[in-house]
Symmetry: C2
Subunit: 333 residues, 2 copies
DNA sequence: TTGAAAGCGCTAACAG
DNA sequence: CTGTTAGCGCTTTCAA
């Protein structure tokens, strides 16, 4: 395989000149540049990026840590990240953790072995193991889509409080007063944020929030079904269910259907994320659309800035939500 | 940052010994090994993988080329690939092509610049650009999940003919004789394979296949809707629709619902892939489950073998399907 | 504008 | 079993 030396001989210049002609064309004379380019073409030279990266001490890659890549919301975010990374000349290494902390730490360790230049974490946890986190200053790690309450990383995330509030206000506006909640894991900061938004809407409307109306899911279809079953068993039954993602809402709708009830006639249901399927459920789901593409762009931009040693001005960047009203919500009967 | 030299000095051995103690512990004495390990710990040494990979002329990474990562079927496959890759000490580089040939070729080019050791292509096309494909023998490129008819790459894929045949036989067994098809793009080998399976089932049952019963989609929800509308307009109307993926089946079901008809009472619908949502549609979808995890394992194993210069014994590896019967199919009225 | 030379951190002969 | 030595292919001073 042709290397830089092959080209330099062919062009009758030094290897340094070849390198310059390719990397900083403006510093070599037009004549030389052309000779080099011709030699490159003639020899079929392809620069060895491993050598280049090694020498420049940068891998030009990011690692995306994701609990489950087959979750459509995450894959949309990853798609945005990859797009932005590519525009900046970076590759994306996939780190599917399956929610396993050990796997996550093992993958995050690659930051210290120069296998990747930065980490975009889609879970709430700081990814490095305790022995790895003895940081000298600012580590190139950023969180995307989650709420991080320990200030361990900067974040790019949705206005979760506002979004949850908007959803609940939408239901209150329709006339609902008894609204069930299918929330996320209770120990997650994201859950807290959304619950706060929900509570704020209730409070502003002068409605009381009852503990039995709050159930917990793990963002899976199945947990949506289970939680919905619990809410359906309440007396009086809630007339609406706010779910913290679309999958749980879909599970809840199936459970409601199974109970012989109808959405939205008997019960309104809302989701969160606006995955592609949300428009194709029966009935189509009222939900919150997140700017997934923007998440990726901002996460990459901030990570690049951090790698340049610039701490982000605002540690937590909040992006706007969009309420998407479809047919799964209506006036209570 | 501590490097191998730091450790060698600290342990009082040569750098070569440090390298050996870490890479092939069995060839150094127990005593030396321990001294080295202690020095590693003391110095906080983390091997520089970029240097290691550069020196060994391997990146220890694969690139997965995928048309659209937010398609749940692909993300399940990728998840399997990542798992298998990790077990072999490889990382996965994500190559989301958006179906754009130029992007695909640009990403595939990374094979020649030593940025990746092999490519797993999830589309049917050979990924290298014409000027890149002047191969010296066996290129480390494998296709996963698709049908490739030009023999440009080995493949790991489903028994698509058998699966489509099983689906149609299932419908015929229920008593359907007029079955509409929502196929994939007509120029795709995968479409041809599945259509052959469908035709075989019809023929075996002595049923005629009418051209107007065959429509074409692009695997999107929307194309399923459009195609279903066309099939619904036929007289006599088909009593069943076979769709070449779950998304199109979901789109078709929505269109059928919109026409005031019901699944499966008026029309049976089948999908393909068994994505997670297929169990949560209304009614739950009869479909074909693909062994996505096995795809990844086999693709990685074969790629590794190819990188060792071993051409796969059978160029095309076929994995078994599983027919999943749910409630979207029933006897015709 | 160009070339010579040093060297990134590591592995792999080759001796001993 | 261990050390010496020679690079991998490239970028980057430093001089010219």
């Amino acid at each position: 395989m042709a290397n830089i030396r092959t080209v330099s001989k062919l062009a009758g210049v030094s290897v340094a000149t070849v390198s310059r002609a390719l990397r900083k064309p403006e510093v070599v004379s037009a004549d030389t540049r052309e000779r080099v380019l011709r030699a490159v073409k003639e020899s079929g030279y392809k620069p060895n990026m491993m050598a280049r990266n090694f020498r420049s001490r940068k891998s030009f890659s990011f690692m995306v840590l994701v609990p489950d890549i087959s979750n459509p919301f995450f894959s949309m975010v990853i798609s945005g990240i990859q797009k932005a990374a590519k525009e900046s000349g970076y590759s994306v290494l996939l780190g599917n953790t399956m929610g396993d902390v050990a796997v996550e730490q093992e993958l995050a360790h690659m930051l210290h072995t120069s296998q990747t230049d930065g980490i975009i974490q889609l879970s709430s946890r700081f990814p490095l193991s305790p022995e790895d986190r003895d940081s000298e200053g600012l580590l190139p790690i950023i969180n995307c889509c989650e709420v991080v309450d320990d200030d361990s990383m900067p974040t790019v995330a949705l206005d979760n409080i506002g979004a949850a509030r908007a959803l609940t206000e939408h239901l209150i506006g329709l006339g609902h007063t008894r609204i069930g909640l299918i929330a996320g894991p209770h120990d997650s900061p994201l859950t807290s944020a959304r619950m706060a938004g929900h509570a704020a809407a209730l409070k502003a409307a002068g409605l009381a929030s009852a503990p039995e109306l709050v159930t917990e899911g793990d963002y899976s279809f199945a947990s949506g079904e289970t939680a919905a079953a619990a809410l359906l068993a309440l007396a009086p039954r809630p007339t609406a269910m706010v779910c913290f993602n679309d999958e749980m809402a879909i599970g809840a709708m199936q459970q409601i259907r199974r109970a012989g009830l109808s959405v939205p006639a008997d019960i309104s249901v809302t989701g969160f994320d606006d995955i592609a399927f949300a428009a194709y459920t029966d009935p189509p789901l009222t939900t919150i659309a997140q700017p997934t593409e923007d998440f990726g762009a901002h996460a990459v931009a901030r990570l690049l800035a951090m790698m340049d040693g610039k701490a982000p001005a605002e540690k937590h960047l909040t992006l706007p939500y969009r309420l998407v009203v479809r047919e799964s919500t209506a006036k209570p009967r």
